[in-house]
Symmetry: C2
Subunit: 225 residues, 2 copies
């Protein structure tokens, strides 16, 4: 089997790895493997799936990259709860992503920021608002750090939702935002600035915050039309 | 090198694949490879990175799984614009994801649905609203298909944003929503139903739609407190 696979050449070997990866995934599911369970050895998996050990290793390497498998001392390979954003992070490289997808991701950011208000008003604490206010005030003193400040401000908003996945997702999307907005006029900012948003969080209603955030992001929304 | 890698045993071989994957990624970046460019052959890459061909093949297999590489007739391996959701899709298997992350993803859905209004009101067409109305009306005649209808209705809303990535993301997240909501009381629905939302899209304002969507999702938001 081993030599056969080698002789198939690059194209078929890859189709092979795709197929074995899918087989392995189905096998783990069928056998109801759960996070924490030790997996059979490479040779045993090769026998169970009826393929060569080399291809099994390649498929296992893919699952390891996805964060679904770890190797532990004395226990061998263990199925683990994957870090769902780990693989996503690896492909979010603006220069290789097509423009339509970059635009889609940029819009996804707008959608998420417009939708943060309900979680924010449920979970924010007075200390959060103070910290946010400090960030908003820094904007005035250091004009040159606008981008950093922009990231800090919006990042803090994500933080305040108490949703760790959402927060990491935002950090991961930042290079895409930066890439998309470099093609746009600089210093676009809506009628409501960061300080305006902080004031609404302090004294206003959720509905006022939604309107304020829309005004803040309006130059981006106007571009979509 | 080949034998040395083999002798390192499972643990170190994997660390090796991780390292070579990162090296390969950095190499492609440094050499400014762009989508459409042919990649050097496996042996050439092995020489350039100073590692064995086996490990290079494993790293290439990972990039192929991420959708960054394809093999084409007569051109060999070509760098391509990755399908950014391909790898993400592979890990979104509720039984292996930890509960905190499942909750985070469920909240992400709520955030996105609350944030859809601005794109919706910018892009929706009369034909879309008609189709959505048909879906909303089906709810009455076939009570037993509530879940399917729920998915069709909300799916159509994503569709109407004209954002293909967002739409695929929603489809991908569906198993997670289903998984999380099975632990919750059945038939929870807010004060505003699908027909109510359609009416707002037809005659109401964006602000009214946002309030309507919040009322529609309110049972889920109440659970967060």
């Amino acid at each position: 089997m081993n030599d056969l696979v080698k002789n198939l050449g690059t194209v078929k070997t890859n189709t092979m790895a795709d197929a074995v990866e899918a087989q392995l995934r189905a096998y783990l599911k069928k056998m109801s493997f759960k996070p924490g369970d030790s997996l059979p050895k490479e040779t045993e998996l090769a026998d169970a799936l009826g393929v060569s050990r080399n291809v099994v290793r390649e498929a296992l390497s893919r699952l390891r990259m996805l964060g679904m498998i770890e190797t532990r001392k004395r226990r061998g390979m263990v199925l683990v709860s994957p870090d769902i954003l780990q693989a996503f992070e690896r492909v979010l490289d603006p220069p290789i992503i097509d423009d339509a997808t970059l635009e889609d991701i940029f819009e996804l950011r707008l959608v998420i920021e417009m939708g943060l208000a309900d979680l924010l008003f449920t979970r924010m604490k007075p200390a959060d608002i103070e910290e946010l206010e400090t960030i908003a005030e820094q904007e005035v003193t250091h004009k040159s750090f606008q981008v950093k400040n922009e990231i800090a401000f919006h990042g803090k908003l994500y933080d305040m939702t108490g949703n760790a996945t959402l927060k990491r997702f935002q950090i991961m999307l930042l290079p895409v935002f930066a890439h998309v907005t470099t093609h746009v006029d600089k210093h676009i900012s809506g009628k409501v600035d960061h300080k305006g948003l902080v004031n609404i969080l302090k004294k206003g209603s959720k509905e006022e915050f939604k309107k304020g955030m829309y005004e803040h992001l309006k130059p981006h929304f106007d571009r979509l039309k």
